[in-house]
């Protein structure tokens, strides 16, 4: 579904991503792990078009998408939830999701039709799925942190993606919230048939949810494999333990 | 075209660019460190001019009057700036840009009325000292001595600013604070006072510009309106917060006007604006790198 081939990106002198490779099969839950500064977020930014890659290819559903504008990539079926709650704080929860649904339906240029009657069912369905429905009228900026993160995912769902990219979906959440969120993610993947690519620091989560794990370090892909393969790989151990012993 | 005419016109255009540079440099300095486009900058310039007038007037025939005014007027403006910064502006740094811009607009409204209240509505004029009065001749042309004075002073101010920001601790700290205030604070530096100093330096330059322009023009209410827009444009084409950008912008502005006068005198006033638009269309973020 998604293939990243030897992609590189430098900021001034600093190679943030340097030869990253990644394959995401349709329907899979794929995790990217690696120590801080390994280039995970930059990789996601490259896939979603926030940065243009300096080299390499990003192929989604057999088409090259590297260098397209973010909105174009989104329209091709990749949606993303961000590391920090990246919502629309002054809009209601309902509107937060609705905006995404309207954008997907190409109705966002519609000037005179009252928005409240549009895209209602879909929005409600997403809110229902994510458990946000009871809070639909609240202003998003007033939600708890955990709920803002879930709203973040709900907004991404509004784009009806085939591939959903989650950047540390549980960072800063309590254990209960973490469990809730990951269950939700898994359930969404099943119910909606969405492929999921995520990065995460909590290894419990990674190893219990992901079917395939890609390990990055210094902007490079060390390996991609099943959880077992990754667990047994020495390089991975080094990557996390600091490698000073190597 | 008579070459000496071109030369004299260019020199005069450069001299004018020097005043624009001095005022715009103050604006861009504040913009760079505090990230506040100070709309009241023009008013401070006007206060500088009026103060220079008052000092020159009080000292009457004293030949040193002008020179004293040139030193004291910027200091008076700086004092006004310090009061504004410490009393009001320093409480607003956490706010959005828009609030800061509107705040300086409010200050502009008040200062302009203050000037009317203090100095009345009459036109004022300052006589340059003997040594700068009159003109040199270049072929058939006269170049006002005062223009030469400005041509010498402008680069000196530029040099001074360069020394300030590259050779003094305060300058280095300001450059650092422009990028990362919090980190500067963590190093044990009271950023608040750094900002105050930067704002005061900006005001000082506005005041100096005002005092310098005083002998070349009539000092009147409303002299702030033109200068502030011109300075905004200069600062924008130079790159926000970049002192050298202000210099380049001022030169473009002054010289394009001079050259426009040479070729199409009737439309000369359009030239600088056209230059600004062309520059911004080609390089929307200005010619030199902005500090932010």
């Amino acid at each position: 579904m998604l293939r990243v081939e030897n992609v590189g990106k430098a900021f001034d002198d600093f190679m943030a991503v340097n030869g990253a490779r990644l394959t995401v099969e349709r329907g899979a839950l794929v995790a990217v792990i690696g120590p801080n500064g390994a280039g995970k977020t930059t990789l996601f930014n490259l896939i979603t078009g926030l940065y243009k890659p300096d080299r390499g290819k990003i192929i989604f559903e057999d088409k090259e998408i590297g260098g397209l504008a973010p909105y174009e990539i989104c329209r091709r079926g990749i949606a993303r939830a961000f590391q920090i709650a990246n919502i629309f704080p002054r809009l209601s929860v309902f509107e937060n999701v609705q905006v995404a649904v309207l954008a997907r339906q190409r109705k966002s240029h519609n000037l005179f039709q009252p928005a409240q009657n549009l895209a209602r069912d879909e929005t409600d369905a997403i809110l229902d799925n994510t458990g946000l429905f009871p809070q639909a009228r609240r202003v998003a900026g007033a939600l708890s942190h955990g709920d803002q993160r879930i709203l973040e995912i709900a907004i991404a769902l509004g784009s009806e993606p085939r591939l959903l990219i989650l950047d540390e979906p549980t960072a800063g959440m309590s254990p209960e919230e973490t469990a809730k969120t990951m269950n939700l993610v898994q359930q969404l993947a099943r119910a909606r048939g969405i492929t999921i690519l995520f990065c995460e620091h909590d290894m419990d989560i990674v190893f219990s949810f992901a079917q395939s794990i890609m390990v990055m370090r210094h902007g490079e892909t060390i390996l991609q494999g099943t959880p077992d393969e990754v667990r047994q790989n020495h390089q991975v151990q080094e990557a996390y333990l600091g490698g000073a012993d190597a | 075209m008579d070459p000496s005419a071109v030369a004299s016109l260019l020199l005069v255009g450069l001299a004018r660019a020097m005043i624009l540079f001095i005022v715009a440099a103050g604006l861009t300095f504040v913009l760079g460190v505090l990230r506040v486009p100070n709309i009241a900058h023009g008013s401070l310039y006007m206060i500088g001019a009026f103060t220079a007038f008052t000092i020159a007037e009080v000292l009457g025939k004293n030949p040193a009057g002008f020179w004293i005014a040139l030193v004291v007027a910027p200091l008076v403006v700086a004092a006004v700036g310090l009061i504004i910064e410490r009393g009001l502006l320093s409480h607003l740094y956490q706010r959005e840009h828009l609030m800061l811009i509107l705040f300086t607009f409010g200050i502009m409204l008040i200062l302009n009325d203050m000037v009317k209240f203090v100095w009345g509505a009459d036109y004022r004029s300052v006589t340059p000292p003997e040594i700068l009065d009159g003109s040199f001749t270049l072929g058939d042309f006269a170049i006002p001595r005062y223009s030469i004075f400005l041509l010498i002073l402008g680069p000196l101010v530029a040099l001074g600013l360069w020394l300030l920001s590259n050779k003094t601790r305060l300058g280095k700290i300001s450059r650092a604070a422009a990028v990362d205030r919090e980190m500067v604070g963590v190093l044990g530096i009271n950023v608040s006072w750094v900002f105050a100093a930067a704002f005061v330096i900006g005001c000082l330059l506005a005041g100096l510009g005002g005092a310098l322009v005083a002998p070349t023009t009539s000092i009147s209410l409303g002299m702030d309106h033109t200068i502030i827009i011109e300075c905004f444009l200069i600062v924008t084409i130079g790159g926000l917060g970049n002192t050298w950008g202000a210099l380049i912008g001022a030169l473009l502005f002054g010289v394009s006007q001079s050259l426009g006068l040479l070729f199409l005198p009737q439309y000369a006033i359009v030239f600088p604006y056209a230059i600004v638009v062309i520059v911004l269309l080609l390089r929307p973020r200005g010619l030199l790198r902005s500090v932010w």
């Binding site: 001034d12 002198d13 600093f14 120590p35 801080n36 500064g37 390994a38 709650a85 900026g141 007033a142 939600l143 708890s144 942190h145 803002q148 540390e168 960072a171 800063g172 959440m173 309590s174 254990p175 620091h201 909590d202 290894m203 210094h218 151990q237 996390y240 333990l241 600091g242 490698g243 000073a244 012993d245 190597a246 | 601790r169 280095k172 700290i173 450059r175 650092a176 990028v179 990362d180 919090e182 980190m183 500067v184 604070g185 963590v186 190093l187 044990g188 530096i189 009271n190 950023v191 500090v291």
Partner: protein, 232 residues
């Protein structure tokens, strides 16, 4: 030296730290271990007064720090080396150090020469712009800059993050040198091995809670804690 008692810290509406308490005695190197997002940086920022806690107290040298501005804390002797380095990119290496110097002619123990002694690489590149240094050099510069304030206590936030093994080793040595020079250090790390090599004691933080505290020896040995909170 430092006493953090039961602090709760928020970023806007998100609650990050939950009743975090820790102590650092004079002359110690204490490490704060935890994964990304566990609350290490927030703890550091709370101590430095950059993100003041909403509840709880922090005492530095016995005096409460609530309401004290960061720059005053810095003058009292705390230095902070942030994880993302935050070098002033437009300033040269020398200038970066220079502006941090507190009262250049004071008896202060740290000066440029001594920083260059500790980090010889920086000396060669003293007139380079900070932004043109490599990641490791920037780390060193950030530490050197903090030292220029003549601190008694230094907060090091992930100094080894993203560095090549050789550099990690170098930084470890340098931390040990600092310790030898009498500085107190609170070190936030996810690189357990390195952290434990230089520390006296350690805290493990996860999800904004201090989960575990023990001597270095215990931390080395307690595989369970390491697996649960610190990955592998």
């Amino acid at each position: 030296m430092l006493e953090v008692a039961d602090i709760d810290t928020y970023y806007g509406l998100s609650h990050i730290l939950f009743g975090v308490s820790l102590r650092v005695e004079r002359g110690e190197v204490v490490c704060l271990l935890g994964r990304n997002g566990a609350g290490k940086t927030t703890t550091m920022r709370s101590i430095m007064g950059l993100t003041p806690p909403r509840r709880g107290t922090i005492r530095f040298k016995g005096k409460p720090t609530a309401g004290v501005e960061p720059y005053l804390l810095a003058r009292q002797g705390i230095a902070y080396v942030p994880d993302n380095r935050r070098i002033f990119a437009e300033l040269t290496v020398g200038e970066n150090l220079e502006i941090a110097a507190r009262d250049a002619n004071q008896k202060g123990e740290w000066n440029q020469a001594r920083v260059f002694e500790l980090f010889p690489v920086l000396k060669e590149k003293r007139s380079r712009k900070g932004g043109h240094l490599s990641g490791g050099e920037q780390k060193m510069l950030a530490i050197g800059r903090a030292l220029m304030t003549n601190p008694d206590f230094i907060l090091l936030d992930e100094p080894m993050e993203g560095l090549a093994p050789l550099l990690v080793r170098a930084i470890e040595d340098q931390i040990l040198q600092l310790k030898a020079a009498g500085l107190t250090v609170l070190l936030a790390e996810q690189n357990i091995n390195s952290a434990l090599r230089v520390s006296n004691r350690g805290y493990v933080i996860d999800d904004g809670h201090i989960r575990y505290t023990a001597s270095v020896k215990e931390l080395w040995e307690n595989q369970e804690v390491r697996n649960k909170y610190l990955l592998v």
